[in-house]
Subunit: 141 residues, 6 copies
């Protein structure tokens, strides 16, 4: 009788695709599509490492993970497209608008008022167009 196969890379990719769909399926998919003609392997890496490996880890729930990512991207100040994706992801996994605004304002302390302001302006745009993702398997955090 054959030994079971160890976890395969396509399992990581599958797990990552499911996790990405759970936090921000539509926006995440746009990024994947944009990569198709220039760097399809990078789309694989994007599913596999950030989502298949890190986001799937049980030690921190999705709400906490999005708090961390929103804070980091706001402080860095040079990743506005990704910050918008994660503000939306934050709403999808159960953060309230007011909680997201609190995180962004707090970044004034650690990264300065410009970083916080630019984060708040990004949030304005996301909030204006936000439609909660349809409830599907795994759509809640």
């Amino acid at each position: 009788m054959n030994k079971p196969c160890p976890p395969a890379s396509n399992d990581r990719r599958l797990r990552g695709q499911q996790k990405l769909a759970e936090i921000d399926g539509a926006a995440g998919q746009k990024v994947i599509d944009a990569l198709a003609d220039i760097a399809p392997d990078f789309a694989d890496y994007l599913f596999e490492f950030p989502f298949g490996d890190i986001y799937s880890r049980p030690g921190l729930d999705l709400r906490a993970r999005e708090i961390a990512t929103i804070a980091a991207l706001t402080a860095m100040g040079n990743a506005t497209p990704q910050l918008k994706v994660h503000i939306e992801a934050g709403l999808n996994v159960g953060l309230q608008r007011e909680e997201i605004v609190e995180i962004l304002m707090q970044m004034a302390v650690y990264a300065g008022f410009p970083a916080a302001l630019n984060g708040l302006f990004a949030a304005k745009e996301v909030f204006a167009h936000y439609q909660p993702a349809p409830a599907a398997g795994g759509a809640t955090a």
Copy 2:
């Protein structure tokens, strides 16, 4: 009969001192002392705005606030002393070591492996010396 006074700046300072003591009294105090001879006004600002204004706001609890700050300082990569203070603060307000390690590892995705590694090395140092703060009024988040 006189009208009550509006909130005064020394109220903000007092509230800030209490909030800072709640999250990391000892380390925070060291910073305040270091400023005494060069910029005593900045010690006031440090109590008043980050802690009297922002950290005292009710919309996000201290555990979430420390998740955000630890993530941001790790991603920025240029504020190691402050990151150590906040890793310790995270432990004080109820984050588990494993949760802090999860945040730091997640920063590899958003700010790169060097940022995450340097955050983990900072955490190693903090964990090695950590003594839980004595339980005093308001010492829990």
Copy 3:
């Protein structure tokens, strides 16, 4: 007879509003308005701390303060909207265009040629539309 009230937070806000009007009333007001629906408290913080506390301090004049802010925002390279506000503020408080251009060019040494170039392109836009603010109480540095 009742003791006089200590300085109140609305005094800081008022002082901040006056100081912001002195350096860049119109652009600053746009930012405040943009925050009204998403984070009105942050508009208060913006008046109170940067302008009510820091910019109102007597130890450095407004011309020197704008030199510092223009330099910092250019070097950081990730806060173009705020850099434009402060290039305009620099003109309002008495910096010459040629002096602002000198600061921006100098940033090539400390933050690299891209940072300096992007600062110069921001300045081009501001200079093209600049109308000196009408002389009103406190409009000069």
Copy 4:
């Protein structure tokens, strides 16, 4: 008989103009033109130091220099216009599209996935419009 003149600044400028034309004449020239009315001296510095001094040094060939510059600008994440110029320069000096994509993907490790993604999106735009520069003296690395 008179001693020969030491290398003059206009020699550095001339050498820089030739080197810039060799790596990206058209895009580089656009930048120079944009500076003409605001900071013409900075156009001189741009020819003289980056290209007349650094890029003209023999110790590293142009292909290696563009690998370094593309990597750095991607990691910094706040210089997209210059990154596009140098992606184009990379193609001009003999880097393959696939090699440029490899550099950009590698930046996910050192500066995070957002930096790499934003670099890849910049490359998409450059690749879409790229016309190899006409073969002229010095047009190849």
Copy 5:
């Protein structure tokens, strides 16, 4: 008869360990050891993604990869330990000291003179202690 197993995660880890040994076995191993007690999973990720996935890709040789990483870490300016590891790695994969110095000097153009200087000081330390890695299978790029 059973279907062969798809590529397993321990293959990525093994491939990554071999690649890391090829570019900087000793220094890389120190990092792995430092993580053992705090974040052993992160050591796995470090082998698997940066080295098992990215550095193992055939589209760019190790010499070019180290040019890119040295440039990026110098420009970022906040990852000195990792920069030292990669300056050493650069020497191991065939870059000459003079070539590494050229990359570092070039960063003055893109990230400013401080970034270049701090990179050169890091290189001084590495060069002072450098012993070429013993020739073992795969030790050359």
Copy 6:
């Protein structure tokens, strides 16, 4: 009769050496010496471009130039050795300690409290050891 030679690079170097001596001869010289064995050409570039070209320009006085550089390096947060050199240079060209402290505190607004704190700690060290440079020709701004 021979035409006079155009400005030569050794004029730029000489002018730069004089300018550097004027703002911070001792500390600047240490940097130059540290480069002698690893990148002597970079010492030339350091004299020629930052000081021979930029700092020698008449459009902004040395006091204003040091305000700009101190602000930028504090905001960037990753160039502490150079920040210390320029805090000392600021004192040499006539900035008061209190003025330097004002600049550093102001950076809390634009780059966050950690950047400002780390700048203040750097200033503490410089102030503790500061000896005014001996009055020599050109030693005042």
